[in-house]
């Protein structure tokens, strides 16, 4: 780059039919309903946020302990806890400043419930798009997750797709043999994009008490430790489908986010990092722009898929 003024970088991002200010969102369940972060940062510094997954009715979560720390990561077994879709629309959305795209995440134990939540979110102002949470490793819903069975997943995506025209992301579970297969299912059923990964199913034990760290025994593993798994899955998904991919997992610093973009993601979500540093998402967004500038990219969108495999 020449001397003089630093070139302006265009950070506009297209994700699953949404146009975002920049490629950084925050991940469902790690950013509350947005309001919790207002003290720390201007929400307009990021591309948008994905709200805590919503069910039809308000739900309580698991009994404590719900979280634990592991090396370079954490476990959680929050489960379904949320205010319910109606309270979200009535009480939470109005608190979000204008100009902050909200992606509503939805979740249910039956396909019909997913569809009903999607319907209620239809046409709601500020809701820029939907994310179907097809994975929740810690819910005792009697076995396999939607995102672990290609037929279940297909039916879920098809049903939700039928009731909404909103930009539709499907969030995939990492606890599968082939992420590419699951990605293709979503594409085939008309999803506009996929988000991955959700937390990895995991467990920890307290050797002092000889008890599981989580009351629920099993939980979801998130944080910097899982980044290499997430990056691999995003890479595999990007090879498998043409719809947009949103990369999630272990992003702490701008360089982490850049890795996902280079592997083919159009945008990223920052999760656990928000707990460690409530300004993390804004710092990641600024850092991606800086990276693009330093490496001669006029648009952050040009980073997508720019991995050098020569």
């Amino acid at each position: 780059m020449g001397v003089g003024e630093a070139k302006l970088v265009d950070t506009t991002t297209e994700l699953a039919g949404m146009t975002l200010r920049n490629p950084v969102l925050t991940a469902s369940g790690t950013f509350g309903y947005g309001t919790e972060f207002k003290a720390f940062m201007d929400l307009r510094k990021i591309g948008g946020f994905v709200a805590k997954s919503l069910t039809l009715e308000p739900r309580f979560g698991n009994p404590p302990p719900r979280i634990g720390e592991v090396r370079a990561g954490m476990l959680n077994a929050i489960s379904l806890e949320n205010v319910g879709v109606d309270a979200f629309i009535a009480d939470k959305l109005p608190e979000i400043p204008e100009g902050v795209p909200v992606v509503a995440s939805l979740f249910g134990t039956e396909i019909a419930a997913y569809a009903e939540v999607a319907k209620r979110l239809g046409g709601v102002p500020k809701v820029a798009g939907l994310e179907v949470n097809a994975s929740c490793p810690h819910v005792k819903s009697g076995g396999i997750e939607f995102g672990q069975d290609p037929r279940l997943l297909a039916e879920l995506v098809r049903t939700v797709r039928a009731v909404t025209d909103a930009p539709l992301l499907v969030k995939l579970s990492p606890n599968v043999t082939s992420i590419a297969e699951m990605a293709r299912v979503c594409e085939g059923e008309g999803a506009d994009g996929i988000s991955l990964i959700n937390a990895v199913q995991a467990m920890d034990v307290d050797v002092k008490t000889r008890r599981p760290v989580l009351k629920n025994v099993l939980g979801g593993f998130s944080g910097p430790a899982i980044l290499p798994i997430a990056l691999r899955m995003v890479w595999q998904a990007c090879q498998a489908v043409k719809i947009s991919v949103c990369g999630i997992g272990g992003i702490m610093e701008p360089a982490d986010a850049v890795k996902f973009l280079l592997c083919g993601a159009s945008a990223v979500q920052v999760g656990t990092a928000n707990y460690v540093n409530p300004m993390a998402s804004a710092e990641v967004a600024a850092g991606i722009e800086q990276y693009a500038r330093d490496h001669g990219f006029a648009r952050t969108a040009d980073l997508t898929g720019a991995l050098d495999l020569s």
Partner: protein, 285 residues
């Protein structure tokens, strides 16, 4: 939903901030505990009972993500003003995070988020405030004791297994409040539990006209026992819980505790101070 009183405080609460705090001193405090003083710049107004999230250990010359999560610690006290404020935290070295914190040297930096949560609130007019601290829970009570000492009668009961585990005894004794100590092995004060002392104090206080109020912080079993004693003599009891936390400001839902009315409350943002009667004690770890 927090208790009514905590909510009251809530409305006047300052917004929390995140600062790169400089370690001013970090030294043993007694034989087991440690006292760390941070320079925090322009620190928001805070209430006794509120806490901070401290990064585990000092900032390194390169980012390290193991351990990852910040640790919740009560604000013991603060001083200074304007752009030059300091906060003090008293802590016990438990695991990896506090061990690393213990080696943070003066001049090093630690990331601090706070003040967080709701404080104890102020006792009703002329009530006898009875503060019961067990182990590291004692740290949450010091500034409360100092503040209520100016308003009316105060008794502080501090307990621990043995004398060297007692926290901040000297600080409390300087406040000129009625200070009573209980150790399980009798190595200091009464031999026995804080609840043995509390029982007597409440009995005496019941003779007073304006009534009493208990503030307890310590191990769950201790707080529960305090709340039962207080309930027996119809004295209100407020407790400050110490639960595992990831964020400290309501974003992760990790710190939830079950409520007597059903459902959960977030200790970090709706607590850590509760009316003892609000809680489903059997479900608190």
């Amino acid at each position: 939903m927090a208790s009514a009183q905590a909510e009251g405080n809530g409305s006047s609460r300052s917004e929390p901030i995140r600062v790169r705090a400089s370690v001013i001193s970090n030294a043993p405090d007694g034989e087991v505990n440690r006292r760390i003083v941070f320079g925090v710049g322009a620190w928001p107004r805070w209430q006794p009972g509120q806490f901070v999230m401290l990064a585990p250990g000092a900032e390194a010359s390169a980012p390290r993500y193991d351990p990852l999560l910040p640790r919740p610690m009560a604000i013991f006290s603060s001083d200074g003003d304007g752009e030059d404020q300091r906060i003090t935290v008293l802590y016990k070295v438990e695991g990896r995070g506090t061990r690393l914190l213990a080696s943070a040297a003066p001049g090093e930096h630690v990331r601090v988020v706070g003040p967080l949560g709701h404080g104890f609130g102020v006792p009703p007019e002329r009530h006898h405030a009875v503060l019961v601290g067990g182990g590291t829970g004692t740290a949450s009570l010091f500034t409360l004791a100092r503040d209520v000492a100016a308003r009316g009668p105060v008794t502080v009961i501090l307990g621990a297994r043995q004398a060297d585990l007692l926290m901040a005894e000297e600080d409390f004794s300087k406040l000129g409040v009625d200070l009573q100590i209980a150790t399980e092995d009798g190595s200091r004060g009464t031999r026995g539990l804080v609840t043995d002392v509390l029982r007597q104090v409440l009995a005496a206080a019941s003779a007073e006209s304006a009534g009493a109020i208990v503030y307890a912080c310590g191990p769950t079993a201790m707080m529960r026992a305090c709340s039962e004693l207080a309930a027996k003599v119809s004295v209100p009891c407020r407790v400050a819980l110490e639960n595992r936390m990831a964020c400290g400001f309501g974003a992760c839902l990790g710190c939830a505790v079950p409520m007597a009315r059903g459902g959960f409350s977030l200790v970090c943002s709706q607590g850590p101070v509760y009316d003892a009667s609000e809680l489903d004690w059997a479900g608190i770890p």
